[in-house]
């Protein structure tokens, strides 16, 4: 059974990896922002699958609910608020994209080379025992308790900040009309 397991494991891994990477590439290359968002969702799904494969079930669910259900939705709302028709018509990539591409590929090469140097053990199957969520909760509320609380404060701050920044300030309204029918809501 190990061979089957391994093969399924590998196949799923490659599938999810493909989703993640291909989704990512497609996300950053679309002209239409909504399409970018869609492909982002695809990429995020792939990442979620990878989480699942590694036994991080809670994270898998959290990823889907928070990231896909929250952030991506948020992006879509903002894309709707901000008029991107004009932005879609112009050039999408920076002028110096060849150099950047080269830099990026170099970075990838370096990273992989570095990774190749290390020696890592092979992972066989799950750890078993208690469920992942339980274990995670254990760690979270004991070892990383302070960080947990701080993160909640961070989220609060982010909410307040977003609300305040999103406020309509009357004297700024005039500027919008010159640059196209902007925000209406």
């Amino acid at each position: 059974m190990t061979a089957n397991h391994e093969t399924l494991d590998a196949a799923l891994f490659y599938l999810f990896s493909l989703l993640a990477l291909a989704g990512g590439i497609l996300c950053i290359t679309r002209r239409n922002a909504v399409l970018s968002a869609v492909w982002l969702v695809v990429s995020l799904l792939g990442v979620a699958g990878l989480f699942l494969l590694e036994g991080a079930e809670f994270l898998f669910v959290a990823q889907i609910i928070v990231y896909i259900g929250g952030i991506t939705l948020l992006f879509l709302f903002v894309i709707m608020l901000v008029n991107l028709d004009a932005a879609a018509k112009v050039r999408q990539f920076r002028r110096s994209w060849p150099a950047i591409l080269v830099a990026g590929l170099a970075l990838a090469a370096e990273l992989i080379a570095l990774l190749g140097r290390g020696r890592l053990p092979v992972i066989t199957g799950n750890a078993g025992s208690a469920g992942n969520t339980e274990q995670l909760a254990d760690t979270l509320f004991s070892h990383d308790f302070v960080a947990f609380e701080l993160v909640s404060v961070l989220l609060l701050v982010a909410i307040v900040g977003a609300v305040w920044m999103g406020q309509r300030r009357p004297e700024r309204e005039a500027l919008q009309t010159e640059h196209g029918p902007g925000v209406d809501a």
Binding site: L107, E110, L111
Partner: protein
């Protein structure tokens, strides 16, 4: 009252009144108002100072010696004090000035009634009075000169009283300038005196007079004489007096007949001790006097302006005085001065009366037959004219006689005497002519005559008083009874002159035309006053003086312009140089500094693009580098 104070008072009163009037506020219109305050104040001041003068004179006679009053030293080391003295000479003139002054002031109250700016008139007249008294009472040459200048100023102000008239202003300037020429001489004389005697006080100079080297003495007396000629209107500086008639008539009566023009005579008389020591100069004095006398008399004979006749007459009579001075008979000269003051001022006042009656007409040719309409004027003027002519019994007779007698005593006396006698004849002639033309001749039809009437009492009263003086003034002076043949001779001459005038102007006027034709060139010359004025104005003034002045102005302009342009050019050159320095050196430094800075900072500048992505790229580049380093080791 103490003497010094009195003397000062007699001087101070008119001075204070002058200041009061001249410095008083707005002129104000005083036309038509009877006896406005400036006139009354002035007259009262003159009256008061006359009384002070009388008191001083009385004191002088009582003491029998000269009075002195001194404030102190004036200019240190110059031998001049602020002091006054009264002796016989100054007393005579002082009383004359105050007395005739009072007459003129009273007369002016009526005569100047219609004038607009009486304050200025009375103020200037009082100034004159004060200055004349200073001149006469000064105890040194410098103070005398101060008064001398002062009367010149007052004369200028008064001749030019009607300054809106061009002629008046021109005449005032002419008077002042001609006077100035004389003053220059006077001043030189003063310098010489100080140099020779070390002091300018009369008594000091008199003491040292004997020690002065002869040449210096001649120079001093000549220069003093020049001053006297200017002030007293003798040849060649006489030209201003006839034109001075542009001033109001009372002014002419006071200043230009009785007082100021006699200042020159006074000066020579005062410096008698100098002149007697220089016989050549005295000779010159006498000759000049004689020449002037006859010259002026000839012009007076043909003048048609009433006041001009009187002006030339004045010049002529002062010539007589100079003849006496030249002969050394100073007392005689003063005697004639006094009598002349009486009848000449009366003649002027009478002329003023006629002018007033004829509403400004001064032309003799347009007068006649005013005898009936102006009886008092007629009477008084006739008395004065007779005195002028030297008719026996009146004041002029005795004084002129004395003068003629004195000339006999001088070197070349016979020549002087002859000229004097001839002038007397001419004098009688023109005096008679004057009276006949105004009062006798058949009245010509002229508009101004219609309204002729006698003058107001205020004008007539002084005239009456002066007429009395004309009659009795002769008794004041040294009468030479011993020279009775001379008296008869001069009496005949004067009566003869009057008869001539009568003949040619009243009984047979037609005879004149014959004479006119025969002596046409002569008449022409006389009419043009021997062309003296013409020469002065055209040749000297326009020719020499103006041209020199213009040339100097042009040179000055070129000099100045040259200097200004030159300095402008220099400034431009300097600025060009400094601009070069600034542009190439200083700016070069600055630009160099900034250029270097720019060169070295441009790479760094390129990094600051402002785009976040650029900065992010830099991050990545850094990361690459770090990883690369890691990989390599």
């Amino acid at each position: 009252m103490v003497v010094p104070q009195l003397l000062l008072l007699t001087l101070a009163l008119p001075s204070m009144a002058t200041l009061l009037l001249l410095l008083a506020s707005r002129p104000g219109v005083t036309r038509g108002k009877p006896l406005h305050w400036p006139g009354i104040l002035a007259t009262l001041a003159v009256l008061a100072s006359l009384m002070a003068s009388f008191t001083c004179f009385y004191e002088f006679r009582l003491r029998g010696e000269a009075l002195h009053a001194s404030i102190g030293e004036w200019i240190p080391g110059f031998g001049a004090t602020l002091g006054l003295q009264m002796d016989g000479l100054s007393a005579a003139l002082l009383l004359l000035v105050d007395g005739i002054g009072l007459m003129v002031f009273v007369y002016s109250l009526a005569y100047m009634r219609e004038e607009r700016d009486q304050r200025r008139y009375y103020g200037s007249l009082l100034l004159f009075l004060a200055m004349m008294k200073l001149l006469v009472l000064a105890d040194n040459y410098l103070l005398l000169f101060a008064g001398w200048e002062g009367v010149g100023l007052a004369s200028y102000l008064l001749i030019g009283y009607h300054y809106e008239r061009y002629k008046a202003g021109h005449a005032a300037t002419k008077a002042f300038i001609v006077n100035r020429i004389g003053d220059a001489g006077f001043l030189l004389g003063i310098f010489g005196l100080f140099h020779a005697c070390g002091s300018l006080q009369f008594d000091a100079v008199a003491r040292h007079a004997g020690e002065i080297p002869h040449t210096a003495l001649v120079v001093i007396t000549t220069t003093l004489l020049i001053g006297a000629l200017g002030k007293s209107a003798q040849i060649p500086l006489h030209v201003w007096l006839p034109d001075a008639m542009e001033g109001p008539t009372p002014v002419s009566a006071l200043i230009h007949s009785a007082t100021m023009v006699c200042a020159g005579v006074y000066l020579v008389a005062r410096s008698g001790f100098l002149f007697t020591a220089a016989p050549e100069v005295s000779q010159g004095v006498a000759i000049l006097g004689a020449l002037t006398a006859v010259f002026a008399a000839t012009v007076a004979l043909v003048e048609n302006d009433m006041k001009r006749v009187l002006a030339y007459s004045t010049i002529s009579q002062i010539g007589f005085m100079f003849m006496a001075l030249g002969a050394g008979a100073f007392g005689v000269a003063i005697f004639h001065l006094v009598t002349h003051a009486f009848f000449k001022s009366l003649l002027f006042l009478g002329a003023g009366s006629v002018i007033h009656a004829l509403h400004g007409n001064q032309n003799l040719k347009q007068m006649g037959g005013l005898r009936k309409k102006m009886p008092v004027t007629f009477l008084t003027m006739t008395v004065a004219a007779l005195a002028l002519a030297g008719v026996p019994g009146l004041a002029g007779f005795f004084s002129k006689d004395a003068v003629l007698g004195a000339t006999l005593g001088a070197p070349n006396g016979w020549l002087l005497f002859g000229v004097g006698l001839g002038t007397s004849l001419l004098t009688a002639c023109y005096a008679g002519r004057l009276v006949f033309l105004i009062f006798f001749c058949p009245p010509l039809r002229h508009a101004s005559q219609e309204m002729a009437h006698e003058s107001p009492a205020l004008m007539l009263m002084p005239m009456r008083l002066l007429a009395i003086g004309c009659v009795f003034a002769g008794l004041l002076g040294p009468i030479r009874w011993s020279e009775w043949p001379l008296m008869i001779l001069s009496g005949v001459v004067s009566l003869g002159g009057i008869w001539l005038a009568y003949h040619f102007y009243v009984s047979k006027p037609a005879a004149r035309t014959g004479l006119d034709v025969r002596f046409a060139p002569l008449t022409e010359m006389l009419r043009n006053r021997w062309y003296v004025d013409a020469v002065y104005e055209e040749r000297i003034l326009d020719g020499l003086v103006l041209r020199t002045a213009r040339g100097a102005a042009r040179a000055d302009r070129h000099l100045l312009d040259g200097f200004v342009n030159g300095s402008a050019w220099a400034t431009r050159q300097i600025s060009k140089a400094s601009r070069w320095i600034d542009r190439y050196l200083i700016d070069g430094l600055v630009r160099g500094a900034s250029g270097t800075l720019q060169f070295f900072s441009s790479p760094a500048r390129a990094l600051q693009t402002g785009f976040v992505q650029t900065y992010a790229l830099v991050f990545v580049a850094g990361l690459l580098a770090a990883l690369g380093y890691y990989l390599a080791h």
